[in-house]
Symmetry: C2
Subunit: 437 residues, 2 copies
């Protein structure tokens, strides 16, 4: 993509309404545009990042055997009355009357709807376990939406639901999701800590939040540094190994202020290993057994033909929220560097262009064609602007690799820079290898 | 995927509420489940087909240089008041009041919102032309939703918008979309006819519908058979070639009852070439110049610095609707055969299983593993059911290729069947080639 053709309304002003750095960056680089309070359009740059995050989430859900489906955004109030949450949910639920006066709502979450789908679909224990997920827009009518995509009204979320015959079996599904979440965040270059958590309005008795470290995070966290020594890739996708993984995590201290107790922290964690920092919640998983299946009469026939309420859990990842959260974690000292796996482009070519000399632009275009042939997603900055401005701009756009076509590039060797590192002079072949690595 | 694990609630009953065959088939094979009147959940089988359609649409939009973005589902009423459509739109618009009493709505289309995004983003003719698109859920509060996903309330749509400096330039964008649509439908194995059309509530003076042939279609169509001789693949993505393509189409008679005139049809088309049949609209494109940019004051500076209203068009494809439309076109004599490019699976393995003999199932599993390694998406019917029932079921699920592991399969040769054809005995290598072809 040539930058001059990209629909990317970059602005130099610091937007007044944006109080945190992810919101500022997303507006300045034209990733999003507010359409009304707490509701955003995703412009091409932001959209590309969000889609890459979505795809990683999808692949890791598929890997553990979860099946993708899609529930609608608009739900009937009936099922929420069955579960008892219609009145409980309060004003954050966007309530709607259709033209016939029926009470509808824009789904803030989908426990009721998935239970309704399930109860009319499967009847036998033989079909269990089942893991279903969808990635769909949700709506919460926040009274004071703020922080850009971090706390907005219309947001994009992956929510998964597990269905099992017994509490014991259900814990195995829970462990699979626990594992999937760690792998998902790892692939995005994030350090995510699972923390046992309260269950809130979803309900249930077992729950973990997944929190990534960011100085600007909303949650205070207290943890043993050793928690990062536990590598999810060393566990296998079988019940025993995943149970071991859960146990290994539970032995290492990690808590948010909600659950933090100073005495316990000091007792369990050596001073040297104590980490007190801030973090942002990016995922939350719940096990709530028959909290929804019972009031909604969602049963399964067991081996003896006896009807039993199916045991359920739910598992959320904030896909649109992650875009903001990752910026909070990775935008440091006025430089944003996207993790390679979710960067909007693989590499940007920055030629030094002057009115009388288009030689560098010609060179840049040749390299562009060459890289495109190799399926490398390249951005070419063909805008007529001085190099100092260009570099400032690309410090914000955040493509991790740059090929700079200026005085240092000679013949078939070009200046190559990884953001936050020194540049080096390399052949195009070596550059390709670096990008693809 | 093993069929016993797939979340696929197959029902043998013909659902009473379903009046047309696509709706019947989608319910019977568990592709969708109604959640409330005109609102559906997409279960894994239906979801996979819809995603494949979406991906073809996306690739062909990208091919002509359109950029993907994403606008929200909930819009403010303000911009609709600016364009003057807020009152015009009538009861099909789902109107919502948020907790602060603000008038919002669930977008039925996005001309206003994209104009709002554009006017605050780009200012110079240098940034033109621009083609932007998104694939997003829309809502129309149909008074009598029916025909399943063909006429429902919440539907998935690709809508694109073009921005140009002059009417002349804008026609070039229009031609690109025209070309892209023909290629898109071709890739789905559909014969689509572009018909000049009325513009309706979108407005403007140039418009085409794209209609696919289906005996059960809603529109009566009259066309010259020669229209299928025009092959979009023979044109090139440049202004001149695309203008030629438009002209070639305009020379061949094609009209819906709206525009049909008997005398003209008989004069222009020889008896032998007259085709009178039915069809379903799957795409619609509009050029409406400054219909929205003028009232919404969306201007661009031209070369002389003079402000001029940007010239716009809009271009829709009903992605969820296409799933139903394709079934209407391809489900014939109780057999559904998905076009290869959008089939939910590449191939299904159907072993004959009996309680005392699992040999065929073992064989099937080996073939399954072998095909999976080649990135072939396989369904294995491991359900314990007689073969006659299995075949009936797969006539509905519609995977175009079957490997049948029964008495005819011997050693390393297996019975291979393409739906609606005779089976043949082939080695696995030959089967792989057939599937990949």
């Amino acid at each position: 993509m040539y930058l001059s053709k990209l629909f990317i309304p970059i602005t130099k002003d610091l937007p007044a309404e944006a109080k945190i750095k992810s919101h500022q960056l997303m507006l300045r680089t034209g990733m999003i545009k507010q359409s009304s309070a707490g509701i955003y359009s995703w412009l091409p740059l932001g959209f590309k990042v969000m889609k890459k995050i979505e795809q990683i989430v999808r692949e890791e859900q598929n890997f553990i055997g979860a099946q993708e489906m899609l529930m609608p955004t608009i739900q009937s109030s009936e099922i929420w009355k069955e579960s008892g949450r219609y009145n409980d949910y309060g004003e954050e639920m966007l309530r709607i009357k259709d033209r016939q006066g029926r009470e509808m709502l824009y789904g803030p979450t989908n426990e009721e709807l998935i239970t309704d789908v399930f109860r009319s679909s499967l009847k036998s224990y033989k079909s269990l376990p089942q893991l279903l997920y969808h990635i769909q827009w949700k709506f919460r009518d926040e009274i004071r939406p703020r922080f850009g995509v971090m706390r907005c009204k219309e947001f994009y979320m992956k929510d998964a639901y597990s269905f099992d015959l017994s509490d014991e079996e259900a814990k195995k599904s829970y462990n699979k999701m626990f594992y999937s979440y760690l792998k998902t965040f790892n692939r995005m270059g994030l350090k995510a800590i699972p923390m046992s958590a309260d269950t809130g309005p979803i309900g249930g008795d077992l729950s973990h939040e997944f929190i990534i470290l960011a100085d600007t995070g909303e949650s205070q966290i207290y943890a043993d540094k050793n928690i990062f020594e536990i590598n999810p890739d060393l566990y296998k996708l079988n019940d025993q190994s995943l149970q071991k993984m859960r146990e290994d995590f539970s032995k290492v201290y990690a808590a948010t202020d909600e659950k933090y107790k100073e005495e316990e922290f000091n007792k369990m964690v050596k001073k040297n290993n104590q980490m007190i920092t801030k973090g942002i919640e990016v995922g939350h998983i719940f096990y709530f057994s028959d909290k929804y299946s019972k009031p909604m009469n969602c049963t399964i026939d067991d081996k003896n033909g006896k009807k039993t309420f199916v045991k359920m859990g739910s598992y959320g990842i904030g896909v649109s929220r992650l875009v903001g959260a990752i910026i909070e974690a990775k935008y440091i000292n006025e430089v944003m560097k996207w993790p390679k796996s979710i960067s909007p482009f693989d590499v940007v070519i920055i030629p030094s262009i002057s009115k009388n000399n288009k030689e560098n632009l010609d060179k840049a275009e040749k390299i562009y064609d060459e890289l495109k042939k190799q399926n490398i997603d390249v951005l070419l900055d063909d805008v007529d602007e001085n190099m100092s401005n260009k570099f400032k701009k690309h410090d914000l756009i955040g493509v991790p690799y740059q090929i700079i076509i200026g005085s240092k590039s000679k013949g078939n060797n070009f200046e190559f820079k990884e953001l936050n590192s020194q540049s080096e002079i390399l052949s195009l072949e070596k550059i390709k290898l670096k990008i693809k690595k």
